[in-house]
């Protein structure tokens, strides 16, 4: 038991600067809404935490697993729809809708993982992308999910902790931070677990892993299933945060790519990568979009954004975390 708690909450295997950095990060997020009073600034912070959450989940398959999955949006969609529909149909409290959403997403991932892992590399990436697009079309087509008209959750006044609806963004800030921490500590445990090591071994060399007695196929499938479940968590949050979801909002291709992008820019396969990636891409996108997006210089926001991403991708394939790690190593040497 003690060992389990240590595995979850401690970072003893990581260098000191990382542990200090994480503490500072937690402190900043905790006091953030009290320093920044701008509503947009707070919205940016919430979206940053949401994408850091998405990134942490995706890192499992994309970073530790080394598989490029371009279909995470479908899992976000499952979570969002499970929450929204259960609230609208049966008035189920928000907290009871999270687990079903994650189970649905995980079950779907499990079911499609078997045929999909017959594919490798680019072919696997294309397959994930296609599956996500098919799901999006199905949700547009189906009437029972609201179709293209989406699902609207009725507004409740005041602070409602049962359905997680608040007028003030401060509540949402701590709410998403809580979900983020849950997932973060899960990931911290995961990377040191037996399965975590197996996943990384499979990524580095499948034949070598197999020779050590790791069931490569099974490891990949389990990993993909867990990734699916984790993706749904952020989706549930989106449903109660925006109060209206449609397939275009929660399952688009753009979302799948942005999730993969945050992790790749930040540094895939590192626990800090998704956080760094989201901390750079989300504020950049939102501020560039808000300030340049409505001026005469329309479209510039997309160009600047794209250039920055291209520079990072071309100059440092290991992401920002790669740069930081190299710097620190040089200094301590």
């Amino acid at each position: 038991m003690g060992q389990l708690l240590t595995d979850i909450f401690f970072f003893n295997d990581r260098p000191r600067f990382e542990r200090v950095g994480f503490l500072i990060f937690i402190l900043i997020i905790l006091i953030f809404p009290w320093i920044v009073t701008s509503a947009y600034g707070r919205a940016v912070a919430i979206k940053f935490l949401l994408f850091a959450l998405f990134g942490l989940g995706w890192n499992l398959i994309g970073g530790y697993g080394g598989q490029v999955d371009l279909g995470q949006a479908k899992n976000v969609g499952f979570g969002a729809y499970a929450t929204a529909l259960m609230i609208v149909w049966w008035k189920v409290p928000f907290w009871l809708t999270i687990i079903p959403g994650m189970i649905i997403a995980a079950a779907e991932s499990f079911a499609i993982a078997y045929p999909m892992f017959r594919l490798k590399g680019h072919y696997f990436a294309i397959a994930t992308l296609c599956v996500a697009l098919v799901w999006k079309e199905l949700f547009i087509f189906w009437d029972w999910t609201g179709g293209a008209r989406g699902v609207e959750i009725p507004i409740r006044s005041g602070a409602d902790f049962v359905y997680m609806q608040f007028n003030s963004p401060i509540y949402y800030h701590y709410f998403i931070f809580f979900l983020f921490l849950l997932q973060f500590f899960f990931m911290n445990w995961f990377r040191k677990s037996k399965l975590g090591y197996a996943v990384q071994a499979v990524r580095d060399n499948e034949e070598a892993a197999a020779s050590l007695g790791i069931n490569v196929y099974r490891t990949k499938v389990v990993n993909y299933t867990i990734t699916g479940g984790l993706g749904a968590l952020g989706g549930s949050f989106m449903a109660v945060y925006y109060l209206y979801i449609d397939p275009d909002a929660v399952m688009p291709l753009d979302l799948s790519i942005l999730i993969a992008m945050t992790v790749m820019v930040g540094g895939a396969g590192s626990i800090w990568g998704p956080i760094i990636g989201a901390a750079i891409l989300i504020p950049l996108d939102m501020y560039l979009g808000a300030w340049l997006g409505a001026q005469k210089r329309l479209g510039i926001d997309f160009m600047v954004y794209a250039v920055i991403m291209m520079v990072i991708a071309a100059k440092e394939p290991r992401g920002i975390w790669g740069i930081i790690e190299r710097k620190i190593k040089k200094e301590t040497r």
Binding site: S38, Y40, E152, Y242, A294, D301
Partner: protein
Amino acid sequence: MTWKKMGMFSLIVLFSLFLVLPNLSLAQKEVKIGVILPLSGPLAPIGKSLKEGAELAADIVNKKYPGIGIPIAEWEGIPGLGGAKIKLIFSDSRGDPAWGAEQAKRLIEDEKVVGLMGAYQSAVTKTASVEAERAGIPFVNPDSTSPDLSKRGFKWFWRVTPHETWFTRDLFDFLDGLVAGKAQGVKAVPKSELEPLAVAAENTEWGAASLAEIEKFAKERGWKIAESFKYPHKATDLTSEARKLTASKAPTFLFASYVSDAILFIKALKEMKATPRLIWGQNAGFIQPDFWKTLGADVNGIVSRDVFSSVLGKVKPEADRINKIYKERSGFDFDGSSARDFIGVQVWAHALNAAKSTDPKALQKALNELHIPGKELIMPWKGVKFGSPFPGDTNQNELGSGIIIQYQGYPDGKPEIVFPFEMATSRLIYPFAGWK
């Protein structure tokens, strides 16, 4: 190398800091209205025309425009607020409901706008108006037509434009009218010549709502539908969708499309030498300047529901005068979208003037009691007054109405009004002559 990288990052950091700094407000008395529109992406051409419509209205309120003949042209700022000027703060929605909601938050809390306007796409209007409802500030929606929007019982949401239920009823009145021989210059058309219908609707909130309304009315009025489907409006190729329409052998094609997809459809149908007898568009893409500019003579004979046509100037001199100024500024005549955002600002101006305050409660009361007579509008409407014209509606303009236009004589023509039949400015061209 390292220095270069360091330099770049510090630049980004500095840049973002600069952006975060609060905007300094000017001392001049002004009233800020936030306007959320799709200013980038596939809907950017529509967004631009909406923006220009709103800007012109704000200008007419803020400066004296003698001789136009409507009250706001005589104003210099809002009289009820001591001549305060209207300042529109535009924000790009990217056509993304989540993004639209974030922008609504920014406009409400950071820009401290008095109220909001927009957001054209019904899905974006849905999320953005939720933010206004939560914050308790007015959201005036001049340009979204999904029936759901006014059925949510919101207390801070007012819709100026008629919605899809209305327009679809017009469509079926038009079809039934054709059968009854009411259209000018066209003999009674046997119903079998127009039946069955084939419907293509884009697959977001608005298109899906349009399709549902068409299916509902078709059932009520006894029209058969041979084929109906939804498609993504961002698609870059719609050939197979167009083939679905021709394969259905339906003589009447109905579309709920945005602009680039509307153009793709017509081009594909032309290529396939399709021979429909009637092509009807549900406004949006079918009335955009880009639509008839790109397609030229190929638009002749296509009909679209609309709320405004520049030929209205013949019967409404005020509309003609305002349209002239608009054309000078933007290069185009008003269309049904830009004219509606013009009216959106007009509604805001009258509400602010009546409230004599920017207090949300006072504005809410003013909007609930607002009545703008039809003669002050550039639309062929009876006016603006919020109520419940259809079951379940709240704060929906009761005095609006739709028209159906037909493109005639393009590339140099005008959209002629063909419905309501008694308002027709030209004879209906029927059947559709096909493309050359």
